[in-house]
Amino acid sequence: MIEMQNKAQTPKNQSTEKKTEKVPNIYEVDDLNLWYGNDQALYEINMDIPQYQVTAIIGPSGCGKSTFLKTLNRMVEMVPIVKTTGAIRYGDQNIYEDKYRVEDLRTKVGMVFQKPNPFPKSVYDNVAYGPRIHGIKDKKTLDQIVEKSLKGAAIWDELKDRLDENAFGLSGGQQQRVCIARALAVEPDVILMDEPTSALDPISTAKVEELIQELKKDYSIVIVTHNMQQAARISDRTAFFLNGELVEYQETDQLFQNPEDKRTEDYITGRFG
């Protein structure tokens, strides 16, 4: 275990770890390789993801960043030809071990997607969906969960009098925050976000970004984003992926001011990608 941690802290091409107050890790990714059929999409990824921080993943299209994100909740297995080697430790368990129950993982790891995807139901039913599946039937308990989750997603004040309205009638930014509330309702530890603001206008984007800052007090967040300024604004650490490799993984301040790898510099300054 100790050996693995050491390995995970010095991924390829990353020579020094700067100003680390040691934060516990929520995930420890160890020598992860992934293939879609015969095509390798991820190569030897070693990466510690700290708890209660925002970890951003950047890189050009096709670099493997969304694939990597989906390995963290094993959603990547929905593609039948996927094969992986290596380990991802969540807590003290390897989530890729045969005996690991993927259902347990999905309860602890919520996900928010690029396009808001509310169910064609009321705001209330959207948020209460997960808890109901988990067997909660008591109306009062559900009311409390819905209120708490919508507050957590910073949309309670806007929607508290519209809980019965169909979520499809909301603006894109509101829909996305309802989806975040839906993720929060099952009380996860981690929230994975796959380009959560790329379909939103700047005002809604700012609201979601502010919300992410709030959420990291209680949740660990991993966000894939094409918007590098967004990664710079909201994340604590940033990982740069290229052609399936983790090129550089640093404190965000360091990565955007003085990246160590020339490829990172070229990408963030817009010289390719």
Partner: protein, 217 residues
């Protein structure tokens, strides 16, 4: 998009190099006036300083606009931050050339004080420093930039010598003390001019290394 940004960065770089040439010219003219006792020309140098101030403003505006439009990061951002800082140093260097001209006017055209040769020597060192700093800036070369520390020490030593010499002179020419003071101010202005050139060297180091390294110790 990228090419436009590259072109804009290049343009700012060329503006800075042109600005440095103008500042050099201001210092050459000011020291020439000093030796010639040319009060009239010294007045023109003071007027022309306004053009140098405009240069700084132009470069600042361009750099700030590019930061706003392109949102650069890493070395690109430092390139623009460094452009802002170098423009400020060049403007201050222009002010010191202007101060030399002002002191020349204060001295008047028949002050009867021999101007020490070392003032011209200081000017030459200062000009050499500007050239070195601009080569370092153009090629983003830290080894060239680091050389400025030694050259600046030479300038400081010459300044120390000039001041000592003037002090000795003032002890035996008490009636000329006002004029001797003006000449020592002039030496001081050129010494300060050199300090700003070392700041430019530091900016080049910052551009490359991403951290502040002093050349003035």
């Amino acid at each position: 998009m990228r090419q436009m940004f590259e072109d804009d960065l290049k343009e700012i770089k060329m503006n800075i190099e042109a600005f440095a040439e103008e500042v050099k010219t201001a210092l050459i003219r000011a020291v020439d006036c000093l030796y010639e006792g040319n009060v009239k020309e010294a007045g023109k140098i003071i007027e022309d300083d306004a053009k140098l101030d405009e240069r700084e403003t132009e470069i600042n505006e361009k750099a700030i606009l590019l930061i706003a439009k392109q949102q650069p990061v890493a070395k690109d951002l430092r390139r623009l931050i460094v452009a802002l800082r170098i423009a400020t140093d060049l403007e201050r260097m222009g002010d010191h050339a202007r101060n030399v001209a002002k002191a020349t006017i204060q001295l008047g055209d028949d002050h009867g004080i021999p101007i020490p040769d070392e003032i011209d020597g200081m000017k030459k060192i200062a000009l050499e420093m500007v050239d070195t700093s601009m080569t370092a800036f153009e090629y983003e070369d830290i080894s060239i930039a680091s050389k400025l520390a030694d050259v600046d020490n030479r300038l400081d030593d010459t300044f120390g010598y000039v001041v000592k010499d003037l002090l000795n002179r003032s002890a035996v020419n008490t009636e000329q003390i006002q004029h001797i003071m003006q000449v020592s101010y002039i030496a001081r202005y050129i010494e300060r001019f050199g300090d700003h050139v070392t700041n430019i060297g530091e900016s080049v180091l910052y551009l490359n290394k991403g951290k502040m390294i002093s050349l003035n110790d």
